[in-house]
Each structure stands twice: as structure tokens, then as C-alpha cells.
Amino acid sequence: MNIVFYLAGPTVAASNGMNEGRIALNPRGLFKRSSIGSSLTPVEVEVERGRMQFFADVLGETDPIYLEKEAALAAGYHDIVALPSFFTVLEAAANKERSRRGDLGSSQLIGSDYRYLLHGIEEYQYSGLIHAGDVLTLTTTVVDFYDKKAGAMEFAVLRSVATHPVRGELVCATRTLIHRLP
């Protein structure tokens, strides 16, 4: 079973030691550093209205542009709009699709060890809105590995992009994962 602790401990927030930065070879490291620059299979994901509504409801959203098509149209959108963190839903769907095809997921690609894995930072850059009915292509690339605390913590940076065939890139997500090494 995959166990991910979504926690970057205080040691991460406070880390500014002299050994920060890139260590060419971290003997304690577990991430597959050779995966840098490689990508997961691009997959198409359909943005389903019901899924958007379910996600918005759970997060307590009440603004009707995220929930009701009529209200979204009246406000000038062409369907309900995705919440800013909805990308996480698309990415989970993309990973599910890759798994169905027997393709690698990001954790296999970078060699995540769930015994030590933490979710450090999640960043989204928005170039356009995601609407219900969009069919988006999701890509994920391994962009960096680095170390802190004299190699006691290693970091992997993944970049995922959701692209619409006409409107182009809509969201670029950068995720930092951490191994707190034994």
C-alpha cells in the first residue's frame, strides 16, 4: 500500500544549514536520480461536471460559478469553473489511467519510498481557467533532485501541465516531494 505523509516538518521550514544545496551524489539518497528529465506517458482526462461539483462541495464552496451551469453562463463563463486546487483531481485521474494501461506512475518513476516520503510544497500557476467538459492532456516531467541537511533530506521536484487543445496550457503544477532519510 502506498503511504504518503503530507507533511514537511519544521526542519524543512527552518532549514538553512551550511550543507544545503545540490550534492552530486547523496550516498543515503533513495530517489532514482537518473529519472531527471524523463516524463510519464501523456494522458487525456475529461473534466466532468459532477466531479467538479463533488470536489467543490467537499471544500465548502458555495459560489454558484463553481457549482451551477446556469449561474456560470450568466457570469460569462462557458460552463462551471474548476476550483484552484482541482488540478489534483485531474492528476489523480491521469495516474489512474496510466495504471490501467500498465504505464509507470510518478512514484515508480522517481523511486519514492513511502516509508520516508513527505509532501513538501505544491504550487500552481494559472494561464487559463478549466471548465466542465474540457478534455485536457496531462504531462508530468521530473525536473530536479536536491539535498539538504547534509543529505538527511532529499527532494524531488515534478512538474505537471494540463493543456487544452485550443486554449493551450491552463495549469502548471510544481510538486516537491521529500524523503526524510533514515
Binding site: D57, T88, E122, Y124
Partner: protein
């Protein structure tokens, strides 16, 4: 698109905060289903114990999603240029969380006037769980 300008926004402006909780197991089950993050450590106490945790705990992305709403509800979706947050500490079942933001800077980027909003999520005990920022076009 609905894009009237926000108008002058003073540094120091506090955004309306959003609180949620107490975090329940039902909420975590629903977030797992809605998000597609089915990691059992958030929804199955047997799995949580097997991983050495005393209980299930909240998905970091649950609070992240509410924190992002503090920005998007204030600005509308069109003007949000980026949102990022660092996962600082875990949120336990039964805790209440308040997500807040305040304008810390005005600047120019990519030919438009933008503001930087410092954002954080805190439990009722005052522990920070998420620390981040939003960039918004004004």
C-alpha cells in the same frame, strides 16, 4: 469573462478568512472520494496504525484547497495567477482550521499590476499547518 478590476488594494488588507471543521472522518472519506487521493492513511485507521500513526489524519490537500479558496473567493477565478503552499504540519481529526490571507506587496509582472497575498492555515490551537502565497492581477 467577469473581470472588473479590484481597484486600489492596500498592503495590509486582510482577506475574509474561511474556517472549517472540526475535521471528521466523514470529511476525510468524502475528500478522498472527491479528489481521487485514496491513500488509506487518511481514511483507514488500520492502515494508519500499520504505518505507525495513532489515527488517520487529514489530507494536506484538503486544507490546501480551502486555503486556495480564500484567494479565489476574494478575487474571482480569472485574476488568480498562482497559488502555492508548503505543508508545515499535520491536521488531526477533530481539529478546526482557519485559512487566511493578507496583502503583503504590490508589484508589476508580465506587464500587469499584481499583488502578493501571504496565506496560511492554522488550527484553533494556533499551530500553522500550511504556509503559502497567492499572486493576483489587479
Amino acid at each position: 469573462m467577469t473581470s472588473e478590476t479590484i481597484g486600489p488594494v492596500a498592503v495590509g488588507t486582510e482577506l475574509p478568512s474561511i474556517s472549517f471543521g472540526p475535521v471528521s472522518r466523514t470529511m476525510l472519506a468524502l475528500y478522498a472520494g472527491a479528489s481521487g487521493d485514496h491513500n488509506p492513511i487518511h481514511i483507514d485507521i488500520d492502515m494508519a496504525r500499520e504505518a505507525g500513526m495513532p489515527d488517520v489524519f487529514a489530507h494536506g490537500m484538503l486544507s490546501y484547497g480551502v486555503l486556495a479558496r480564500v484567494a479565489s473567493n476574494w478575487t474571482g477565478p480569472d485574476r488568480l495567477r498562482s497559488f502555492s503552499a508548503k505543508f508545515v504540519s499535520m491536521t488531526q481529526v477533530h481539529e478546526r482550521v482557519t485559512c487566511s490571507g493578507s496583502v503583503v506587496e504590490r508589484f508589476e509582472e508580465n506587464g500587469e499590476a499584481r499583488i502578493r497575498i501571504a496565506m496560511e492555515a492554522r488550527t484553533d490551537e494556533g499551530r500553522v499547518t500550511l504556509s503559502g502565497e497567492a499572486l493576483v492581477a489587479i
